[in-house]
Every structure is written in structure tokens, then in C-alpha cells.
Symmetry: none
Subunit: 277 residues, 2 copies
Amino acid sequence: MNKAQGAMSYDELRGAIAQRHRALSGRLQQIAEFVLDHPTDVALGTVAEVAQRSGVPPSAIVRFAHALGFGGFTEMQQVFRSRLVAGVAPSYKARLARMKSEEKSVLGRQPAAVLSRFVSEAQSALVTLSQSVHARELDAATAILAKARDIYLLGLGGSFPVATHLAYVLRKLGRRVVLLDGTGGSIHEQSHAATTEDALVAISFRNYYPDTARLFPELVARGVPTISITDSLLSPIVEGASVVFEIQDMPEPALRTLVAPMCLVQAMAIGLDLAAD
Amino acid sequence: MNKAQGAMSYDELRGAIAQRHRALSGRLQQIAEFVLDHPTDVALGTVAEVAQRSGVPPSAIVRFAHALGFGGFTEMQQVFRSRLVAGVAPSYKARLARMKSEEKSVLGRQPAAVLSRFVSEAQSALVTLSQSVHARELDAATAILAKARDIYLLGLGGSFPVATHLAYVLRKLGRRVVLLDGTGGSIHEQSHAATTEDALVAISFRNYYPDTARLFPELVARGVPTISITDSLLSPIVEGASVVFEIQDMPEPALRTLVAPMCLVQAMAIGLDLAAD
DNA sequence: TCAGAAATGGAATGAATATTCTAATCGCAG
DNA sequence: CTGCGATTAGAATATTCATTCCATTTCTGA
């Protein structure tokens, strides 16, 4: 009733409820048991819904929140909601908050701190990658590459390193690769020979490089099987693609690490090689 | 507008949004992009909040929901909430178990298994990186780059993606960069203008690219301050370097992920930018 | 350039919601 | 059995919210 409950984590709240459980009145104990058993209902439901499911009148729910030191049900609900967002987005929220705060502090500006920040960012990007990429897509992608005579790679601007890396690995594995980099003329000319017998791997993140957005539909229209690696289903290289890998939470261009797409393309290339035997 | 949207999963909704995106009007497209980027905000926020964060009037949000075939915002929100609920149920343990089982199942030859192997390799590479790089070296490196007029980047063969990535980030930050890639002539000519006022970042791993081994000593001899990123103190770009970053345990060329050097160069670039203010 | 159509923004509206208030009930000591 | 304080339930209330409506602006095609 007296504690400051301003910023409380879900686990702390669980502890507080368990601790005070004995001291609560009958109805309030009943509610305590319900909310610990059904935290998701509390997070997303209204007072009336929670009241009905736990078999108490709505006002009792509000009294329960008051007894725990919250200003009302809405305030308590925030804690239950934080549990949901923590479960679904281990990277996103924490990353934004951390970057914001560290960016301004003196500590965050020292190169060593910057490095450790990028390392942990890369870690979470890898976790997200392994969760969001499904076996079906990878199988489809390697199948396309296996049948391709020549493999065309389209990745410009910030995505160029990914394309060059994939080119390097594929060539090491003996595949015929055409890297569309615009050197010595237009990309159009470089890609002119691509047919339905070949394959295209396109990589593009915001802001989508104009040439990529322009060339991609042309190759799709010519019937070239296409694997897209991008950060949004709305990107210009999604429509018409045979396989799409979506890599979420790419930070702004200067801050993105490319760790996730680099890993992905390498897994594609090596997986292709292993499956071929 | 016509589909029955009764029971729709979050992934299905994503697909539907992406599919109709082009057919939507300007404002609605803007909202489509926002909701795909901030699904959590949509799940937990009110119409007014979502409207404000996405920079549109509340009525537009409702029209967006209608355009997708929902009866209103509340109906659409249910789908976004289902994502939160799904994310919290199979918690940490289940995810780990899934990775473990996938790793062993039916050989490690399936593409999905290959990906998870690269991911965990990359994870450990990042840990090693943050342990082996010391603040003193990073400070020295950023100091060199801060004083440099032009920054020359030398990374060929398998290291080329690292060089292009560093070039991209440095240019985004407004630095003058010369990427030594041998396009349109010899690398020697490209590097001819480098002086003691400039700086060189050299990246090379086994087997050391011949051109790199040849060019590096020349620039050192001309007194160009040099930062080397390599995998052994015996590599040809160590002797004479002002700062050396040694990244150990690099696998054979085709299998290496470049995750560690990518992170390192980015931390260098951003650290340089933050320290400059 | 103009007319018609589509889209947009903002205010108005009515529903839904959390909260408060009060009368009734319960528990309990004397 | 009685009276008092704590507790409760449900109605009343004030607030917040989603939705609708309409005047205005912005596209589109001739």
C-alpha cells in the first residue's frame, strides 16, 4: 500500500504478490491466485473480463491493484504487458533503450564500449536470425541454386559486402557466379545474359538502393528464379521472388552489422554444397 | 475488403499486408509499413497512440483496418496480440531444445542445420572477439583514423567484404575513403597518393592474398600509419603496422563467417565518429 | 484546365472502460 | 445476542476510447 511501484518488473511483482498473499483478505487472495495463474489474461483483458474469469466483481480487481500499491488496474496491467513484450522481442526493445542511454553517456563513446555494444547487437541478431529463418525456405533456396547454371548476385550500397562474400564462397565451391556491381558499364548489361536456367540472389535493405529496385523486376519478368534477402516484406525485391528471407530489426544503415545476412548467405552456400553430394 | 478475416494468424496477416501494399493509397501504405515494423506497438497501444507514433490521424488507422477486411481497429489488434501470446508461451527452454534437436537430426547436412551451425560458430567468434580486443588498441586505432586526411582500405579476396563494409560506413560518416580494389588498373596506382597524413586499414587472413602482401610493405615504407586486422602475428601485414588486431581461430576460407572482423571494423568506425564530437 | 472521384483530416458521437461511491454484508469481540 | 469495523458487491460516474461522418484537399483522366 505504501511502496513506490513506479518501475517494477514482472518477476518482482510475482514476488511481491506471493509475499503479501497471507496478509490479504479472502477475495483479494482469490484474485492473487488467479493473476499468478493467468498473467496473459491480465495483460490483455479488461477489468470486466478479468473479473468474470476469476469470479469476482470488477471493483475487487481494482481494489487488488490498489492493495499492491498501484494507482489502479491500468497501472498494474503495464507490468503484465511488459512480460509479453519481453517474451517476444528479446532484442528490439532492450536494444533501443540501451543504445539511446549509452549513446549519450561518456562511457558509451569510448571505442571499447562501442565494440561491446556491437558485439551484443550481433549476438541478438544471430538469435533472431536462427528463429526467423525456416527450414522450408532454406531448402527451397538451395534447390534453386542447385539447378542454376550461373548464379547472379545483386547487392549494392550497404548490401554490397554481403554480395561479395557470397560471391567469394560460391566461387570457392566451384559455382559460376556473376557479381552485379556495375563496374565498367551498366548493371543491365552485366545481367543481360541471365535466363530461366540461371538464378538470382538479391540483397537489399533500407534505404533500398535504386538500381536494385529497378533491376530486380526486370529479371523477375524474364523468369529468372530469385532468392531475396531483405528487411521487410514491403521492400522492392519481394514481389515476384521465388524465396524471401526476411531479416528483421535492421538498424539504420551506418549502424547495421550485416552479421545476420552474412551468416545466412554462407549457410546457403555451404548447404548447397553439402546437399549436392 | 471481402475476405473473411475471422481467424487469421499474425504471419498470414503480414502476408496479406505485403500483398496488398501496392494497391493501398499513400497514407495507408505508410501505416502498413509502420505496423509491420512495430507490431508490438499495435498490439498494446490505443488507436490514438498508434496514430501518433506513425504520424497519421486516428481515423486513418481505422480505415487501414477496414481496408484489410477487419471490422475495426480492435479486431485487427487481436491478431497482433496473438503474436505476443504465442511468443511468451514456448519460452527459452523450448527454443533451446528445438535448436539442439535440429542440430542432431538427420545429419548436419540439411540447410537448416548448416545455418544453426554457422550461427553458433559466429556466436563464439563474437565472444572471442570481445575478449581479445583491448581498449588500448581500439583507442590507438581511432586516434590514427581521426588524424587521417584520406583513409585507404586494403582488403582483397576473402577479406574484400570487410573492406567494402568499412568503406560504406566511413563514407556514411563523412570520411574520405579510398577503397583499393584494383578496378580499372593496378592497386599500386590507386594507392600512389597515400602519404603520412593519411592512414591505411589492411585486412587479410590466410591464405594471404598476394597483392595485399606486396602492397602493404610499400605503404609502410612510405610512412603511412597503418591498422592491421589479421589472424596471426606472422601474417605479412603485421610488421610495421601501427596497430594490430589479431582475430584468432579463423576457419578455412570457405567456412569463415567474417562476423568478427565485420563487427570490429564497424566498432572502429562508429567509435571514431562518436569520439570526434 | 477542369470535372469527377478518391482520399484525407479532424471534429462529433456513442460505446466501452476504469474507477469511485455507498449501502449491505460479514466477522468477531464483548 | 449485539454493536463495530472491515470487507464486499453493485450501481453510478467520469474518463477514455474506437468509430463515424462530413467538409476539404488531393489525385486522375479528359
